[in-house]
Symmetry: C4
């Protein structure tokens, strides 16, 4: 742990700060949503404590666990979703950040067990196709983590809608996973609105591929 001290200190700040994006974009209610980050090069992650108000989150209240969810450092019990985050880090080495919310529109798709169809250029850009549904899974063991990983492996989406529960998103780091959570709710909402008054047409596969490719490689600085 000593050798990763500086990285952990920085990630405590980053992960605490990123929770303010969850409240800013109305993705979470009361204490129900969490961000984690993998500590690069270590079998460690930084995650939100369980049941603590977003107002009271600072770097010092973040919790460090190993990749089986065992507490390594911190004054609080880790998020009750820690096992799911840890499972993702163990099985998806390319993932550096995980986010879980119950954001309303994404969770409504999850409640019906329906993927969000790729009917917007923004979905093609960020998610590369339909946003998939994962299985219904009980909290308390590896079921949720396994459901996330198995669903994401078959897709290029960075988001999965866990059935009757809510979305999980992943990214190369915690910020990218938060971005995916924000974009997910935005498109879940817009596509919900679109279907309320008709049936939007899907974008053809070749255009989806070109949009996704371009956005992943050209967009930004």
């Amino acid at each position: 742990m000593r050798e990763h001290e500086a990285a952990v200190r920085a990630l405590r700040q980053t992960v605490a700060d990123l929770h303010t994006e969850l409240t800013r974009y109305d993705l979470v209610t009361w204490t129900a949503g969490n961000v984690s980050a993998r500590v690069p090069g270590a079998d460690l992650m930084v995650i939100k404590p369980s049941g603590v108000s977003y107002d009271d989150l600072g770097p010092e209240s973040m919790v460090v666990t190993d990749l089986h969810g065992e507490l390594v450092e911190g004054d609080f019990a880790p998020s009750s979703d820690t096992a799911a985050h840890a499972y993702v880090y163990r099985h998806m080495p390319e993932v550096g950040g995980v986010v879980h919310t119950h954001s309303s529109y994404a969770t409504a798709w999850a409640a019906r067990g329906e993927p969000i169809p790729c009917v917007l250029t923004m979905i093609a850009d960020e998610f590369g196709g339909d946003i998939p549904v994962g299985p219904f899974a009980m909290i308390g063991d590896d079921s949720i983590g396994r459901g996330i990983v198995e669903t994401l492996r078959e897709n290029r989406s960075s988001a999965v809608l866990m059935r009757s529960h809510g979305p999980f998103t992943v990214g190369k780091d915690a910020r990218a996973a938060v971005k995916a959570a924000v974009m997910l709710e935005d498109v879940a909402k817009t596509v919900h609105f679109a279907y309320q008054l008709g049936t939007p047409e899907p974008i053809d596969r070749a255009s989806v591929d070109r949009l996704h490719e371009r956005y992943q490689n050209v967009y930004g600085q």
Copy 2:
């Protein structure tokens, strides 16, 4: 009253502060919603004054009544819903806090007289099953209080949707009742969205029981 002075002083602050959660989560409009707290070990409660703006609420504007709603201390008339709160405290000794709002999605279910079905893990966690509907009852006597108590006694839900009116929630203390009011609107909204485009599947009873048990006993610090 003298022996409970310190408790009353603390609860005046707590109850005033908790009203800011009602506005933060958009559960109330103008002056239409209220929080109360039982004074532990006394036949007293602290409650919002009637028709006072949330901007103007501080500890000093809170009102103390007995458990029949008679004014004991305070410069203002108590909330017009005081009789309902008082009835709940008289008949549910385990309840330490009561909240009433007209939050939009929960009130829409109440307008139709439809329980919110348990189609989300968050509903199982917090409410332990479908969220029930109470009878239509006129303000001015014990009708509303009786409707709340009779409905909640037959359920493990901490929320009841009073028909054509709006939700009441209860908790072991005022903060827990506010949390229930916030979670209620969140799930009322998400399930509303889910039903707008299809029919979400209910979670089976055994899973609901396991989720509720775990959340009530393991979640948080």
Copy 3:
């Protein structure tokens, strides 16, 4: 005008302040909504200037006109809805405040030309029955004012939904009219939600009468 100087000065402040309630409750977009107040005992009113941003409104930017909408005092042209406000003051002596918005849910009912049915106790309390629709009327002469007055005279509602346009509300003073505008959008939204998934039952007339009577006479301080 000299004799009403103090009243005008106070109302400039009041009317400017009340516009912040319109933005707080999301009733207005850009510059599209306005509050006015009658100057008691005078044939004068204080109203918002036309096309000025809500950020830039202070007591000094308010405009004073007579009850035919002619400018009496002020550095700006009065609201383009001034004629409608003035008509109401000329024909409804009991009215001391008028508000116009294009708040989204109320305007959606207005677009369909459908009254909002009295299916919630809050509607009975504040509006005393269904919230009525007024005629389609062009801006530029007395058509809008006449439509408001003729509709409100046949109802005890303090709000009218002007067809294909948006709501107007009235009150004994400007604050009461703003309160009505806020409550209107709240119930327009909740009843919209209720009808999206079914058909809420109307409250019987006797109960509506009792609720309205009580709320108008007992509620508040």
Copy 4:
């Protein structure tokens, strides 16, 4: 460029400030929306940099390009929508500002490829008729710009809903284009609500013409 230095400096501030209206009215998520302004009398425009957070936008982070989107001044790569803005400035000399968002309700109409019908006086006022749909067009060449220009040329609307993508708005300057983007989302939302529970009646053409004429010439200061 030297001769336009003062104009560019002022527009950097204006364009940066106008982005705060996009976030204030919830028209944009994360970094997905942009404002530009033509530099009067020059073949230059000021535009948002690509993928930069709205929190971090100031005058100094704005980018200056020519009207083919080539970087002229600035520390960042220009918005990935720069080619579309530039095409509009090249082909519509009366346009001084362009805005692009993915605002939810407008984008839902765009996803279905349905124009927003002129059923509200506010639509007649600001847009002069139905708000038209533009073609599906890929990013990366002149397709989007051409689609915008061809659609707007056949309409007096200041907004176009680009199919499966989102809205673009134009104005005589950047502020007018932002106003159109704000009004567009407002009417897209209200008309969405109206159609959810029925079929609003269109305003007849003569009334639309009179409303539009009046609003464009009489409204404001």
